[in-house]
Symmetry: C2
Subunit: 399 residues, 2 copies
Amino acid sequence: MNISHRQVNKRVRFTDASGNPLAGKDIKVKQIAHKFLFGCGGFDFMPYVIDGNEFFKDITEKWLEIFNYATLPFYWGNFEPEEGKPDTENLLKTAKYMQSKGVKVKGHPLCWHTVCANWLMQYDNATILKKQLERIDREVGTYKGVIDMWDVINEVVIMPIFDKYDNAITRICKEKGRVGLIKQVFDEAHSINPGATLLLNDFNTSISYEILIDGCLSAGVPISAIGIQSHQHQGYWGKEKIEEVLERYSHFGLPIHFTENTILSGSLVPEYIEDLNDWQVEEWPSTPEGEERQCKELEEMYRMLFAHPLVEAITTWDFRDGAWLKAPSGIIRKDGTVKPAYDMLKNLIHKEWSTDETLTTDENGFVKLDAFKGEYNIEAKGTNVNAVFLKDGEQQIII
Amino acid sequence: MNISHRQVNKRVRFTDASGNPLAGKDIKVKQIAHKFLFGCGGFDFMPYVIDGNEFFKDITEKWLEIFNYATLPFYWGNFEPEEGKPDTENLLKTAKYMQSKGVKVKGHPLCWHTVCANWLMQYDNATILKKQLERIDREVGTYKGVIDMWDVINEVVIMPIFDKYDNAITRICKEKGRVGLIKQVFDEAHSINPGATLLLNDFNTSISYEILIDGCLSAGVPISAIGIQSHQHQGYWGKEKIEEVLERYSHFGLPIHFTENTILSGSLVPEYIEDLNDWQVEEWPSTPEGEERQCKELEEMYRMLFAHPLVEAITTWDFRDGAWLKAPSGIIRKDGTVKPAYDMLKNLIHKEWSTDETLTTDENGFVKLDAFKGEYNIEAKGTNVNAVFLKDGEQQIII
């Protein structure tokens, strides 16, 4: 698979401050950050950052060895269980800690019919919508500069026909229409933070989601990237489906984010289950064979997505087993030990898809370099400087 | 089922030209036209009107005993098989003939990927789109005043992913997006005939079509009515599906037209057939049991649709057996003899859902009247006048 679009083809000239070339010198070029967003759910940071839990300290350290991008939970029902008392501080502290570690943070989600605040249901539709927009103002405004990426609205394909239980968001989506509601929440988020990356996110990858995106773009909704969930609790999608989904969603020319990726290392959910939330089990063990399979499937999928020019982000949903549905969905086990998938990803991202080379400059101070896009530490003559490589061509670095 | 919304509740006062009441007189009130559009494919008018074919003269007379609304074919590939030589005159003659018989005519369709003009494929996409819009200009302009109702674009849900064969319209839909193309063709039709009734039409009744309509309305597409095809070659939808489709498509508040309705009086197409066009048979007989079943199912469906306040039109697709796919899909047989469904519809529309009464005015010239919406012939004192009853309330008629 061709991944040359992930790299820059550079001719770098090393000079001293006066512009004299560093001729015939060894230059160490080591990648310290990726442009590509290798993401994971960041939920496990909270017990450590907020409560100082030592078990989770170890978990977050393992997390940081692989990922550069995290999703933090803003489910309205949990974030603000009582009206007017949002859990602003804890999430701000967590997000800032991650930011200090070089991790980009996304908030998820600003509008969703599930895990919604029950207290909203006492209001009429006009008031619900007003409170939803105020909530967007508040969160997007408060976290600006710390969180500049949002899953603005989640799972709209089923939103107005969701019938498991009554909720405030299904009510207003039914009234405003899907595109109508999407437009309002996106316009609101965009007005508060015009530089933010704003995503539409869905698990539905059928033609319905394509048509929804088409309608949104025609109605001028400021979508920055298309979010695609890929929870594969009922079995790995496989090459063919991944290719087909990529092909269909690349027609829009927008960046594509795989926002919620799950591949299990245990038994699968039977096909007859329509809503994964209906699969309630006491125990759901990770097995050695399952871990090998997970590792293979995850590698194939990451390679395919990394090779597609429009994919900008892949987020592994659960870092650790036993979270959503108790599933063996992580790349570490419940006890914190790592699975084969963990080592595979670490190797893929930080060896195979990273650049770490020593080169020798020619008589004019030049080196030629193919480097994965991102940030670099350059060492020459015992001195260190940082450089960012994002575009092909010539670049001068003063040592 | 409540059909009171199809009727007006009137108090009509009969006077002479000087305003003196016609007291104690018998008034005959007879409906001569319905507001509701009882439609049928009008293809069989062409051999009679154009070529004077006597067999089809009889067919059209039977047709006119039931219906007040016809669909005429404007499939681009048949209408203009050679670029620049459209079959304008024959269709104009047919449409005018129908108009002279009090029949409202709809043109079908202005844009579709099937039965498309092959010569379009020699052009690049920009030229194809230009020619498509020019075609809309030409047809909507030429037939204005004779045809003021159009299926503007057909089957857009599958349009950009239609892969049975290459065609010009799938190409431009892929490029412009579904809503993008819909908006252009609707805006064009609307600009040429702002008073025209413009329909979006699809056989897909899933959530995908709902989302498409939602997107179109958010993008400001001037859709007058939602067109729903209901070819039931694989079996009658039944009450539950009809109710569910009506419920889902009434959320938009737009009029709903059942544009292409088929219920067979013979054997059904097996469920495993995905595209009805793949069902090719030598003979497809209408059977006595099939005709009884068709009659029952058709009656149930017409009653349900007539009872729904947003349904404005029902079009039986084939008048006569043996048209599309050779199916026993008509309400008359291939030889022109009528089926039970023909008599049932005639009775339903022209007896049960028509008003034909004799009333006696009171001393002030008033009669009270519940009448099906439409046009009436009023006879009193040996004189005839016409009146239109569309709204509840008082109305004065001078005899």
